[in-house]
């Protein structure tokens, strides 16, 4: 029916959708476990699994279908109030989702085949209640329930070619219609009758093993022309109270027709908040675009220089107009790659859950600033360091319930992830209310490891920073979560690579906050151009707080300037890079700040603002002497 290219394309679309669906399912499951009583959460969770199952069916991915089916059954039980969502059940479902993810990843879109069930999958199937029922049909696997359906048809139903009795016949095949009442009271007398309009409605009870979705599906084709109420009766046979609340709804987007939400097809918005006006674009295409915009910025700057040199006013003006447009394009192009941190944050519900259960700690995770936007490249690269910090906080920061009780704290620990913008930087915080860093222990350890002189005078801040040194670990027992002596140094190098910094704010017994500051984007920055002799440097404009002229006697022997009575650690760029400056030139000080640290850079000329494209360079700027407070993104030479 399809050539292999089409098939591959369809499969690729499916695989991408499957990943999204599983992600959505996991998020919603965790939200549910945290006590969300929003009906839409369980519905969205169910829909995601159901859609996954349906789509996988078209591609004949049987092992995936059967596992998804069992998961769906469990979810149905939870949704219909027959099953409690216990912690073990959540764990089982999460494992199942992991396994489904693994299956999705193992599918090669060129062939689209899936190996039969592994022992692990069979285990999950049994645990989910599938057991030997793997080959069983959906109807047999489900329990037989008694449903109450109330159906009202729109006047236009018949004229649109629908025959209501067909729906009833179909229902009768899904189970057994026990009672049926045709509501004909609305049929008017002949004088008032519109013979092609529909006046009928039905109320019926149905005994069936079909799921709610399957029942809703029956009417999906006519969803615009009917209103349906579907209720589950708890004790089939006994006219007891209704198990679930009456649910009035016009039909939800038809899940079975989600053949329509398959690859290539436009899907209905799944959870409402994903607007339909979204376009998915491969990340690499965006990167190509942003790279080109980067080149455009550079060549426009070149054109601007040439125009100045030419002295032609007309030329200068038109190049300036071009520059303005390029600037707008740059801003918009960068925004395209901005994503909310929320999606990354949401992954931590799972991390926190798994890690805290492994350690028998009770931890409440709270998120704030989820709508803070940052560059997609950054979110991808900051996720792992964040995971490390979170694990570290749970493992080492937050105490066991017993310890916490003894310390007069609530047994449940608090972990907070926060994101915000602060003067052109993204700030990400991981805070816990645990025991805080033990500066004394860190110091002892550093001395024992030869990282620090025994009589070194360093601030508590600097002691804290020692935990980011390679090979430093204070964990008494090496747990399998963190504390293997790898980690914190990896965190810092990852952050360094992103031109970010990490700060620690710790208060013994009260808790600890790791604060990461990152530039908004990696590619293009607004720079401040300075020069020493013939060499040019660009300082990120966001870092520059002020500029002033240097007085002759300014820099003291310890490398400090006097800034309004306070010592300002400073670096003479010419001397630092070994450059031959112009001795006659007047020198200027650029005060830069990052986080709470300030420093002065001594340069010759201040040349003004400049858009700067950042490209990897072979020789990175070398570090400053340890005594100087070093902004970790030391100025880079401009190209």
């Amino acid at each position: 029916m399809f050539d292999s290219d089409q098939w591959t394309q369809l499969l690729e679309g499916f695989l991408e959708e499957a990943r999204d669906l599983l992600k959505e399912a996991e998020d919603n499951l965790l939200r549910l476990e945290q006590g969300s009583d929003d009906v839409e959460v369980i519905n969205a969770l169910f829909r995601a699994v159901h859609t996954l199952k349906g789509s996988a069916g078209i591609f004949s991915l049987e092992p995936l279908v059967s596992l998804a089916h069992q998961l769906e059954n469990q979810l149905m039980g939870v949704r219909d109030g027959q099953r409690q969502l216990t912690a073990p059940l959540v764990s089982l479902m999460l494992q199942c989702m992991d396994e489904l993810n693994g299956m999705v990843e193992s599918i090669d879109p060129r062939h689209g085949t899936l190996a039969p069930h592994t022992p692990r999958q069979s285990e999950l199937l049994v645990a989910l209640g599938g057991g030997e029922a793997v080959a069983e049909s959906a109807a047999q696997a489900g329990e037989i329930n008694e449903w109450f359906l109330s159906i009202r048809f729109d006047n236009e139903l018949l004229r649109n070619g629908f025959e209501p009795s067909s729906f009833l016949r179909y229902l009768d095949r899904l189970g057994r219609i026990e009672t049926l009442q045709t509501l004909a009271w609305a049929v008017p007398d002949l004088h008032a009758l519109d013979a092609e309009a529909c006046y009928l409605g039905y109320e019926l009870t149905l005994r069936s093993a079909a799921s709610r979705e399957e029942l809703l599906d029956v009417f999906a084709l006519a969803e615009d022309f009917c209103t349906l109420r579907l209720q589950l009766r708890e004790d089939a046979g006994e006219p007891g109270p209704l198990a679930s609340e009456v649910e009035a709804q016009t039909l939800a987007p038809a899940p079975q027709l989600s053949i329509a939400s398959l690859p290539g097809a436009t899907s209905e918005p799944r959870s409402g908040n994903h607007g339909s006006a979204m376009v998915k674009v491969a990340a690499h295409k965006l990167d190509e675009l942003i790279n080109l915009v980067g080149e455009l910025v550079i060549s426009t700057a070149g054109a601007h220089m040439q125009s100045l040199r030419s002295g032609s006013t007309a030329c200068i003006e038109s190049v300036q107009a071009v520059q303005q447009h390029v600037e707008q394009i740059r801003e918009r192009a960068l925004k395209l790659r901005m994503v909310e941190i929320g999606e990354t944050f949401n992954r931590f519900h799972r991390v926190v859950r798994d890690v805290s259960q492994g350690l028998n700690k009770q931890i409440q995770l709270s998120l704030s600033g989820s709508d803070t936007e940052l560059d997609k490249t950054l979110t991808d690269r900051i996720a792992d360091p964040l995971v490390h910090l979170v694990r570290n906080a749970i493992d080492h920061g937050i105490e066991s319930p017993e310890e916490r009780r003894a310390a007069g704290k609530p047994e449940q620990g608090n972990l907070r992830l926060n994101a915000c913008h602060d003067s052109g930087m993204i700030v990400l915080e991981v805070s816990d209310d645990g025991r805080g860093l033990n500066a004394e222990r860190i110091r002892e350890k550093a001395i024992a490891r030869g990282m620090l002189d025994a009589d070194a005078q360093i601030s508590e801040q600097d002691i804290h920073q020692l935990i980011f040194e390679p090979g430093f670990s204070t964990a008494e027992a090496v747990s399998n979560l963190s504390g293997r002596g790898v980690g914190m140094d990896v965190v810092r190098s990852a952050i360094d690579e992103l031109r970010g910094i990490i700060e620690i704010e710790s208060s013994a017994g009260q808790g600890c906050t790791f604060r990461i500051r990152l530039p908004l984007t990696l590619a293009i920055i607004d720079g401040f151009l300075v020069s020493v002799g013939g060499d040019h440097f660009v300082i990120p404009l966001d870092m520059v707080t002020e500029c002033m002229e240097e007085r002759a006697d300014a820099l003291d022997a310890s490398g400090h300037l006097n800034l309004r009575g306070k010592p300002l650690p400073s670096v003479d760029l010419g001397r630092h890079f070994g450059l031959r400056g112009d001795p006659r030139a007047r020198r200027n000080i650029v005060v830069v700040s990052q986080g709470r640290q300030q420093a002065g850079l001594i340069v010759e000329h201040l040349l003004g603002e400049l858009q700067t494209v950042i490209k990897p360079s072979g020789r990175c700027s070398s570090t400053c002497p340890a005594s100087a407070a070093r902004p970790s993104s030391a100025p880079a030479r401009s190209r």
Binding site: R169, D172, T182, D189, L190, H191, A195, E196, Y202
Partner: protein
Amino acid sequence: MATVTLHPASDLAPARLSVHGDLTIYEAGETRQTFLALLAQDPGPWALDLGGLEEIDSAGLQLLLSLQKTLVQGAQVIDLPAQARALVDLLRLESLYPLGASGAGEELRDVR
């Protein structure tokens, strides 16, 4: 096409309406007009002889229900072919069942 004929009432029996052919949404509009014209001649009661029906759908059933409502003293169905019976069964429209399988319906038929 539906062919509709009204046999006038006699001393022994009410007017008998016989419907031949199809009574589906395609015919419903036109058949309604016919019914209305016949109603002007005889306000009921009628006996509905549907034995000649070939096809009926929900629109057709609705039309018959409406007819029952409109007629003075309603309309009694005296014959119903298998397909229509299946639909009436499915919809459990008791009012459209032929008058008692062996009761009044038979009597009426005998009279006819």
